[in-house]
Symmetry: D2
Subunit: 472 residues, 4 copies
């Protein structure tokens, strides 16, 4: 009878969040709280592995951080060190076997690994490893890295990890935990973020600085592209640069959408960057209008920037519901755009008779935007002008962001004018790439999804992971 | 080891939401969707009862609308008529036996009842009914009303219901469903809201107009205080005024906090009313400052109104997390104010070095505000000025809102200056009652929680429901 | 695709089991253990209500005793008195609202009631109560009794309960718990069992003596037909005979099938009674054969009696699986009699080439027996002779046993010869009613299901409970 | 407060059951039914993997067969071939990662493996594999075998599997499934059982013949020790003998306890073997007594054999409850032996005043027997004589049976007389090893647990799996 509709489609998805804490009596508890602050980076699964110096203690499940961990579970995650992971699937399906941190036993003993990013030569390496007799039980890049380590001739953990990462191409921010060591590393281009902080005497590491706020830690610095930091059994930190120097290519899209607004990336406040995107956008694409409204919450800072720059009134014309789960049951005779309305209800009292500028952070497939424009018009808006605080997304990400394929990206084949017509807007304006770079104070970020200029070759091009398995 | 902390304390809670649909082929589905739109009015339990003309079909459970109803359940809720209910406990505990719609069998046949409000003579009536041989299985006011009906000499449903309601004092918006009839009524003072709409040929009834938006229905009018509307087996509507005329006393607090901003109450947009509260507040309590920030989302419209009126920049200085459940596990060595931070993280980039005006809709116990002020200061704010877009709440509600007792209300015993000192703010300003009434275009609303002027006597004063039962 | 088959059909079902304990520090725990020993009398729901002298503490859920109760729940069931109930539906559906003990609040305060039996004038009383203004929330007989009490003019609990029971016809063993009192009663004919025991200083009451074994209690005596026993707030026991004397009519079928073999009923060991049924059966229906096998476990004692009397070898020719749940998923192309085989697999090594006597306790619809005979033949048996250790069941029970209707009972319309042909047996022999009475040392038991001689009129004849409600 | 007691202690546990079906349209459904028939061999987890010729479809979970599989799951297990597994932990903990069939991807593609048995050189091989760069994610022997395959130079599946198994020592009955092949093999000593059957045109393979009865298959023959049977993509069967010939050493304990009585092992009915064990036991250890009772159900056939041989009456003196889960909540003041009584209640009517012979299949730690003897005496027995239908178990199994360590085995350190004193019996008699071998018509079975004569060296002696991981 009724259908169940997924409310999460047509959006980018954050892929992973990492958190580590080294030598604090409440490691599991604090890592759990830190993962809460990174929940926006992955809602599919969560995991923690702790070390008590002798033994690793692991727990991973599908679900949100608050659902996965209970007081009972946290109590059993013993020891003063922990690494944690939240995940949304990029490579690899949603199977339990793909949850992280990934744990293996090999000649170096037991090791847990948590990875954020996407290797561009994972399949090549996988095939090589399989030729050498490796068996795989997941579809994750992480398992490939672990096989590289298992075959490494390295004399210690740092050497072993360095040798394995040396062979990897693509993006990775990554954490390793053995009974005696913690190692964190960021790929030479620094595509995915990773930063270092302190809470009392303990070091903490996080994908985003916002998690430090939550656990009462202070931000120390971003881990540099190509840097590998190791903490030995006594907690002494050693910093390494095992890889050839590469230009910084940290992801621009983290500023646009992924990172929380209360995070700092490479020293730049995401909130202020987004406001400035809106301000620049207002100059690049001015239009006569009565009000500026955001698509909450992701479009709110840019809309504020737009409104402040133009002195147009900023209003909440779409009311976001706080009780929407991932799905709802649809009526047989579908109510037009019900799902989008349930999430973002247009307020007639605000919109009726108005010329409305709607600010969103990005436009992917355009299907949701089309519905929102339609809903806003039905609520009485006279004109609907869409302003996007990022350039057209024309190319799929290959470094760990779950974008649709090129063909599914509306900007891949449609001009802004065609797109405006498709979504039913009176006008559509995108922020220019230059404008975006100005707003983030860019120092050479990766712009691949906008420009097609991929800083790292996609070595796996044309290869497909041939699995012959459907796990349920 | 760890404690579990409830993140929902120190807030008002809406108590109930009602939705009905009369004579639509997809009654259960649409009522389910309507309840989604009223979820903010009660997150503890949800229920639907449908009628196929012969038989009632009922389903009630603890949980959110999206958790309670599955496609299987909706498919079994047969028939073209439905009444639905979401509930947060005001009177009566959280037991399953208190979920609604309440269903009984008596000499008039089977009947389902869904009630929003609080009777002020429920215990008197209960005692009277018990003296006459009634047995009770719940602690709800609704069961009292049903006993009144069971003893009524009325010749038909309308008469029976009228006679029962005639004896009730207090507040009620209420829906009745029998195999043949639907009846909706609102108490003579009209304290709790209830409105009428249409979707195609079908009538719909809702606590708030926002639910009409969601199901594609059009708002027709508010059901008048003291009005009783009956729909017979053919769907014909008859409107009755069975009670003595009373002055309108619809709840002012719905405007301040309970209702969604995209709802209209008595013809007034809640969003605009809240913005105007903020604007008037800015005139009543001006202060030198750099930015205006809301406590999101409840304080957002008033903060916008405040900022627009004063031309101060409106900023999102507290970032609300969308992944916070009702509880989290606390670390042993408590991180100061972690729970509040997890929900509302202060953004240093916005707040550092600033004189900040923080706008919220209301101040109840003050404990959360105290934590928020502290967090904002730790994020670098130079000054913190709290502005509340409602008058001091000095008195507990007796008509269906779950306020703390008088003693727990900070404004009951503390002046604004004392309160400012307690919560650590540089200044604190409340909107005046006059200002609030101006903002909502008041026509005589109930102001009891602010003024202590209770429009209906609390006849149960001094009586306690002596239950001798703890159900688990 | 696949179908789910219910493995529990075509059997009698016990309906309810009762357990009470008065004044023991571990009342809830011991009552919980006692209910374990009565689980065979009802697997659908379980409940416990305790009294701490001031307040009742209640917990009832659908499920087995071991699933319903957790240490957390038991810990909250405070106080030294408890009554418990397990239930399989006889009257009333499987809804949560029908679980027991039933708890109400009325002018006498709070009361919990647990009932085993079936009233034969429940609908008449229900209609009468409804005419007087009663509302009903369940379909149980118990709620009718409570309404009678609510209207009673009795001055104390004993008087109130006596007056209510005085109006009831049919069968009941029943327990009442108020904050201050425990009352147990058995209907004047004593149809359903109830017995009294002691554990240390505490009194215990149970449907069957086997529960006393489990909690370490000693059996004192059966509660007499028509007896009402009250325990006051100090634990003093008073025995009453408030009803007119009636002849004993305790249920004969308890001996045949319902009661556990390790129980004593009216002083007679059920195990020995069943063995003697088998022995007498072997004389009434002798046949040349090689082995005697039971339908385990219900037919085992009678088969032993049959084999011992005839000196034929007793063998386990059907192996009962201990891992069969209530349902399994059937293949598309149904395997003949899979469900029955999964439960009772015929052992070829035992049966091949043999003339087999199969002893079961009763024959209801004959559909399962037909499958078993077929399975036994496929396992190689040369002859299959069915022997039933009870007379033909020709009439539905009206006093609380969940038999099929007369029409569904195979013996209602078919002679033993016709039945043998239907189930494919070489011969079929039933125990005579005289033989059964001899085996149980009968003192005038109810034989209605065999003889059609109903000791109590069915006053509700022709009445149907018109509910107009489908609860989910 | 209350403790939760495990009712499953002090018993042997079957470890694994295997089932396969090759080329039947309902493969998943039939394998599911087959696993039902092998549930007694492992109640901890269940899994099925099917092949549709291109892709494997896998589902594995902790739980009973009836709980793990739903119609939805079975429907998604596509294809005409399936292998299934039920498991109780022997080697490896109860973690999800140890459930089987085990599935891997390697250079030979995807493969599923299901294993019953225990390798005696698993740790040696594991260390070797780790030295060569293997990573492990479970603690199962199966993963070791897969690594051997991954490194094999074999040209096809049969060769690859043979080469891997060639290196393995210990016991294994094992199934392999690839998209194109099914392979079954039994170790050269044939320690664990495995047999072949047919259902229509399809081949079926099972640990025990009883599963064939259930799915309507016919038993063809036992798979011979050292035999490897391969089914190619067209379903053609090829039988191989890739290993050096070894003497048959099939497990004697399967006859004593593990196998179902309705199974045939090496052509011998387990039921008849057990009856004969009882008969021989009665001659080896005669005693004056009134009745013979079994510990049901495992002791029932031997007790029947004992009673028939001695012409003593066989009685059900202990009533087994069918509603006992794995745990129950204990009262604070423990009722003596409650757990054992709940499971096996002694019937006073049978036992009172009697000299009782109690027959059980085996005696492990003696703790349960001690409680049973005590309970039987409290029920009035004058004398209690324990007769065990197997020799004293003095040595732990190394080939896949989950026995306690030598030290925990009561017979390892106590004589029968000392044991009788410990458990409180008037006498204790064990069946002799000769008697047991006579009863099973032994052709050289493994007797290690009785005699200490281990047919295969325990190569891993002294090695410990050093894991440094606690998975939750």
């Amino acid at each position: 009878m009724s259908n169940v509709t997924d409310l999460t489609s047509d959006r980018f998805h954050d892929e992973c969040g990492l958190f580590a804490i080294i030598d604090n009596a409440e490691a599991a508890n604090l890592a759990y709280l830190g993962l809460h602050g990174l929940q926006h980076r992955g809602q599919e699964s969560a995991g923690l592995v702790t070390s008590d110096g002798q033994t690793l203690h692991a727990y991973r499940r599908l679900g949100l951080v608050s659902d996965v961990f209970t007081p009972d579970v946290l109590q059993k995650l013993l020891g003063p060190r922990a690494i944690g992971h939240v995940r949304y699937s990029t490579a690899g399906g949603t199977h339990l076997s793909n949850t992280q941190p990934f744990v293996v036993h090999f000649r170096h003993g037991s090791m847990a690994v948590a990875h954020n990013g996407n290797l561009t030569n994972a399949l090549i390496l996988r095939e090589e490893m399989e030729r050498l007799g490796a068996i795989f039980q997941s579809t994750t890049d992480t398992e490939v890295l672990v096989h590289l380590m298992a075959r490494s001739g390295g004399l210690d953990s740092v050497e072993t990890i360095s040798q394995a990462l040396y062979r990897a191409r693509g993006s990775y921010s990554i954490l390793f935990l053995t009974p005696k060591m913690v190692v964190a590393a960021r790929d030479p281009h620094g595509i995915r973020p990773l930063c270092l902080g302190r809470i009392g005497d303990a070091w903490v590491i996080s994908s985003e600085s916002v998690a430090f706020d939550l656990v009462g830690a202070t931000f120390e610095q971003d881990i540099a592209p190509g840097e590998l930091i190791a903490f030995d059994s006594e907690g002494k930190m050693q910093r390494h640069r095992p890889f050839p120097q590469k230009p910084n290519r940290s992801c621009l899209f983290e500023y646009v959408y992924f990172a929380r607004p209360d995070t700092q990336l490479d020293g730049r406040s995401v909130y202020h960057a987004r406001k400035e995107m809106g301000a620049i956008l207002s100059q690049e694409h001015p239009v006569e209008a009565d009000i500026v409204i955001p698509i909450p919450d992701s479009g709110t800072p840019a809309a504020l920037g737009y409104a402040q720059k133009t002195a147009l009134p900023f209003e909440m014309g779409l009311i976001r519901s706080h009780y929407v789960g991932r799905t709802f049951i649809e009526p047989k005779q579908s109510i037009r755009n019900f799902g989008v309305m349930l999430k973002l209800n247009p307020s007639r009292a605000v919109l009726d008779g108005k010329r409305v500028i709607v600010v969103d952070d990005s436009l992917v497939r355009g299907t949701t935007s089309k519905k929102i424009v339609e809903n806003i018009r039905r609520a009485g808006a006279k004109e609907v002008h869409i302003r996007i605080s990022s350039p057209p997304i024309r190319h799929a990400c290959r470094y760990g962001i779950d974008t649709p394929t090129d063909e599914e990206l509306i900007a891949h084949s449609k001009t802004p004018e065609e797109t405006a017509a498709y979504i039913g807007a009176d006008s559509l304006g995108y922020l220019s790439l230059k404008g975006l770079e100005r707003a983030v104070r860019s120092k050479g970020n990766c712009t691949a999804c906008f420009s097609g200029d991929y800083p790292i070759d996609f070595h796996d091009e044309g290869r497909i992971l041939q699995l012959n398995l459907e796990g349920l």
